[in-house]
């Protein structure tokens, strides 16, 4: 019951003016973008460093990446 009431209040506010829902939209999308960015950075940062390093001059051979010597 309480949830239903809350839902009604929220939709009421939304229909009253376009801007509150727009702000909410922007917030939701920013949060989604930040989450995706965090995931990309989390997985991709080290590969990025490796790619940048392997392409710098003088180019190290690929076998050096895995060999312990």
């Amino acid at each position: 019951m309480a949830f239903k009431v809350k839902g009604k209040v929220k939709s009421g506010k939304g229909t009253r003016g376009g801007s509150p829902s727009k702000v909410k939209c922007v917030k939701v999308w920013t949060t989604w973008a930040m989450k995706k960015a965090k995931l990309i950075v989390h997985w991709g940062f080290i590969p990025l460093v490796i790619v940048v390093g392997m392409n710098s001059e003088p180019k190290p051979p690929l076998s050096q990446l895995l060999s312990p010597v």
Binding site: V41, I46, I50, G53, M54, P60
Partner: protein, 404 residues
Amino acid sequence: MVQMYNIIILLNLEDLINKYKICNYHVSKQTKTKTLQPPAFSHSPFSSPFTPHFPSSECLSTAMGSSPSRDAASNPASVDPPLASASAEPPHHVGLAVALPPPVDEKKDGVVDVNKRVDYLNLPCPVPFEEIQREALMSLKPDLFEGMRFDFTKGLNQNFALCHSVFMGSTEHPSQSGDIVKVPSSNYEFGANFLDPKLMLVGRLGTDGRLNGRVKCDLTENLILKINASLTNEPHYSQGMFNFDYKGKDFRSQFQIGNNAFYGANYIQSVSPHLSLGTEIFWLGHQRKSGIGFAARFNTDKWVGTAQVANTGIVALSYVQKVSEKVSLASDFMYNHMSGDVTSSFGYDYILRQCRLRGKIDSNGTVAAFLEERLNMGVNFILSAEIDHRKKDYKFGFGMTVGE
């Protein structure tokens, strides 16, 4: 060499001192979890003087910058000629360091030459605000650890290196009764460093899924962008910080944006060839806290003295005297008005040809020593000891660091 030195400082996480700490911000360190550690990645001066030393954690997090500020690092490393290769050292990678205050003109043997006129239009550029206390931090806050540590850095190239580091030992966890609970733990960390005069990328990925990343990019000659991030798989435990540094002729300014709506700015200006004054403000959005602080640094080529105060109730003073080329003595005092903590420590720093020995004694009843011995080119042996007489906590560690 200077660049390496800067890199080491950057990698030093100890300075993760925290503004946050003051604001009860919580952060967990990568390898060692300390109780209620505030997020460390602030390098601002607030951080360093105000925070008790932490062990320097593996890089990247925040530790950009030295002394008082966040970066303050406990810097594990200073660059040594043998370590001149461009590979960045991981934060806990210790090398033989030469910690010298920047030479100041017009000074001979610590005596100000009053006959020489001071050209106030040509003052030297001051050290970055977070590095105000760097000499004291480097001498007094080595990267103490308990257990075994092994670091291997493999340089593929002048600018690019991979590193592997293994740690097996105890980490302390907070317990309900206030006693220290030591939990044996081990971790492996893989890292990649790319160092260029204009771009620095350092990444460390541990077995617990935590990524510490650091980016330093020279956008123009005077404007530097630094990014520190510590990302974890657990939600709400990740941190990130953006720093924009501008270096002027005799001043430096920095603007910081961090997660949890953290905004900070600091500014430091040389007012005489030996004295520089700085100020810092920060705003923490989620907790609605703000603070302002002031700092001063007086350095000659024989000694360096710094003082910092903040409206969060923190006063930090430090003094480092270079007794000779190889020996320097450092002392440090910190007072936290909110918690009533007063800590002072006194330490020595011997930088010899084959080793670097640092020891200190604290007003908390702690005695610590840290030795880095160069056995061979690129092979360093590390011994760390910390005895806390008050809490009866004994920590001994040993390790080896292989690689340039």
